[in-house]
Symmetry: C2
Subunit: 499 residues, 2 copies
């Protein structure tokens, strides 16, 4: 759709082409994880590197910089909320950040990440932190060089955080996390004192075929269609969209539990956010979710606020019993309590809704201590283990279940983790606002999710990257990120009931 | 691997990156046909168009032209047969052709092809040639503009042919096809007079799952491994390689016949050719099969020379009977004769080994008549039907089974068809040479294909695009393309035996 300004048209053409390249890279990545025979690894690494590098080179080219300069006048005449003004504003922000980083450094970071990621699997398996140490030292050195590309921030960590949660400051996150800590540590204590919930029936033999069929049944009721979605299996589940109207979920059916059901709902939440971005934004830099935190708020909405709720299981529990006859002797309330069991544990991705946040806070704190040199990389495992003991009262048997459990640090990602807990916080803020307009319990009890999805789509998903994350949340909920609703939700749902 | 010449290194880097982009486009295409949900069509068309256009723009850039100019001196010092000399020589040929065509014309041809291809399915279904006529007229006009980009050829058709079978002249093909016509028309007559072969048991109910299992069993014995290959289903089977060590076959299981077995072997033949290209050529313009004709020679080798041979079925017939118990009452010889039945029919892709060539000759002749204006596009269906009567003695009920049966013309491909019959001719030339070194019958009877595959790999596949097609055939067989062995093979195998 040509506008009347040739410079703006040129900007859109250029950004559209870059988005086409980004989608090609997305598909190369999805296929690598889901479809590619192992023999294709080397050629795929070359193809991904070239497509990513060309996309970056085209983006930081003077042509784009000059266009943005030329468009300043036009931008001032446009309505701030318009798609065109947002496109220019967001592109300028992305461009100003991108041009500060020399291509050599970008390349070095990418290589370091690829090399270290390749070694992480074996290091984790062998609980061999020392073998990863040289990679981690390299990453940390590169992070310091990266930070130095930007104006001196209030806190060094601000620069890392901004890549994942644009506009957010370390001090903002710290304030939110301090509240979480203050509220959740006593809650965890109370729950622990109330005694154990029986969840023994959640482990056993669960036919992967039945898991797949039931996962599909759930996400189809959520809005998954064969016309626009896929659900495949892979080792480490993720969601990606190689094009508008082409949403790809992946999941992993473990034969001895049914966690895949929640993983599928989680990935659906990521997928439906991308699915709902306004089509007219879809071929360009505004055409995706606005930040990792807001993305996680939606995966958590569909996994936890919906998928671990009583009304959801009111509808789906009889269906679950059909797929898995072993639940015939388990009553609905016992199942509900089991899938919501709060219990300190070692592994972040398996953690419950309450303790999950402590896993994140631990990582957020250690990341700051690392980048500020207050913890030495050589002492990281000990620092990790001590913090696990402090926050969750558990012993870490080895680096496999400790500092090496996640790929993030090994692949050079720092500043990413806090977005998970921010997502939890935002999910409830948005959900509370949604409940003012939609009787969610009544809907879910009937297995209906259309009104919920449509509310989220039309208020949040449709915006894509038009506004900054905090601004987006404010537009949807009326207030900035606020942990209040989240801690109230956790306490109401999960605190022990007085006898 | 850097050489000692910086210009040559630069050439290799540039061509390597272009090959990465080509592989990205290959994957975008494969996924579109095999995996993509329909909703992704528009975004995929954009991504494919951008990646293809950027690849082309980078290829015709002055940078490459200057490099080729600068490398002339080096090229003269290099051994003609070396990889480096071949790289420069083949790239120069590709470049000289590519720069002659203005980007606007390339773009117009691509658009016309996309638009017409989209309409072809419905036009074929409705046997509605008039609705395709405007597309065909556009294609023909574009072809004339395309031909005009090149030096005046001996025959206009030479320019079209050269895109699919580099170095081949229309007169060469005509000479080969004249021999085929002369030999095959009487052979078809003889066979027809000898009476009908019973192949009624080849139609019935054939479980697609069993077809898939048996297809896989066959191609695994041929050399398919999960490490480097995939076999998926799609509407119109094809083979593609999004990377070295990543060969993707597709096939289509029709529930009422077992043609998928031959289709799978056919695609394996294409796949194993790409699979066998020397790894050191794989990231660049030499890293694929040399021409459509030579490619087809290999698909036909594995489909017909192997897959329709007596020794092949000596080994596989009992296995077939296990997968499809309905063959329990059919003896091996009767089955062998049925899958080799020669009988004039309407549809090229279902034709037997003998009449197939007449389908091609018909198209080769009509293409020349069209491009030279001797047949008007409006009269094409009549010309088609008349030629079908002349060569195969059959009536064409409608354009669905006639001029619209293939997508090639509707999508703007002219000059492509003859490569199919050239492939048949070359397949037997190569096979005869192979038989001097390998006791193929003894191998196949034992279900062993390693020696055959290895001979073909080390003599032919490994060469990639280093030499022109005719030159490649000469290096492998000792002679230029020659229809003699092929017609002898057909007569020996398929002529009626004197009683």
């Amino acid at each position: 759709m040509p506008t009347e300004d040739p410079k703006l048209d040129q900007l859109k053409r250029l950004l559209g082409e870059n988005d086409d390249l980004r989608k090609a890279a997305t598909l190369l990545f999805w296929d690598q994880r889901v479809m590619m025979p192992p023999g294709g690894a080397e050629a795929r690494a070359d193809a991904l590197a070239t497509v990513s590098r060309l996309t970056h080179e085209r983006f930081v080219d003077d042509e784009l910089g000059n266009l943005l300069e030329d468009l300043k006048g036009l931008e001032e005449t446009l309505d701030y909320e318009s798609d065109d003004a947002s496109l220019i504003r967001v592109t300028r922000r992305d461009f100003d950040k991108a041009v500060r980083v020399p291509p050599e450094l970008t390349g070095e970071m990418r290589r370091a990440s690829a090399l270290a990621s390749a070694d992480w699997g074996l290091a984790k398996q062998n609980a061999d932190y020392p073998s990863m140490l040289p990679h981690m030292e390299k990453h940390l050195e590169l992070k310091h060089r990266y930070v130095a590309c930007f104006d001196t921030p209030d806190e060094t960590y601000d620069v890392l955080l901004d890549d994942y949660e644009p506009g957010m400051k370390t001090s903002d996150v710290r304030a939110i996390f301090d509240t979480l800590k203050e509220e959740l540590l006593p809650l965890i204590q109370e729950i622990s004192e109330a005694g154990d919930v029986d969840d023994s029936f959640l482990t056993g033999e669960f036919d992967p075929g039945a898991q797949q069929a039931f996962s599909l049944e759930i996400v189809r009721r959520f809005g998954f269609t064969d016309e626009e979605w896929r659900l495949d299996t892979t080792a480490h589940p993720f969601m990606t969209t190689p094009g508008h109207g082409d949403v790809r979920l992946t999941t992993n059916y473990r034969p001895h539990d049914t966690t895949s059901l929640f993983a599928s709902m989680h990935e659906f939440g990521h997928g439906v956010y991308e699915w709902g971005v306004a089509p007219e934004l879809s071929r360009g830099p505004l055409g995706s979710g606005v930040s990792l935190g807001v993305h996680e708020s939606q995966s958590r909405t569909w996994e936890n606020l919906i998928g671990r709720s009583r009304p959801f299981w009111r509808y789906f529990y009889p269906r679950l019993q059909e797929h898995f006859p072993q639940f015939g002797s388990v009553d609905e309330e016992a199942f509900y309590r089991a899938v919501n069991k709060v219990h300190p544990s070692l592994i972040r991705i398996d953690a419950d809704e309450v303790t999950y946040n402590m896993h994140i806070i631990l990582r957020f704190e250690l990341e700051q201590e690392l980048i500020e040199g207050r913890v030495d990389l050589r002492d990281l495992p000990e620092a990790w283990d001590a913090r696990m003991d402090e926050y969750l009262g558990i012993d870490v048997p080895s680096a496999r279940e400790g500092v090496l459990q996640d790929m993030h640090w090994s692949s050079g990602s720092m500043g990413y983790f806090p977005t998970y807990a921010l997502g939890n916080v935002m999910s409830v803020q948005i959900w509370e606002r949604l409940k003012e307009d939609v009787d969610v319990d009544e809907q879910m009890e009937r297995g209906e999710f259309g009104e919920i999805r449509e509310w989220l789509r039309s208020r949040l998903y449709v915006l894509g990257r038009k506004f900054e994350p905090q601004e987006t949340i404010e537009r949807v909920t009326g207030s900035r990120i606020d942990p209040g609703p989240y801690v109230r939700y956790l306490r109401e749902k999960l605190a022990p009931q007085p006898a």
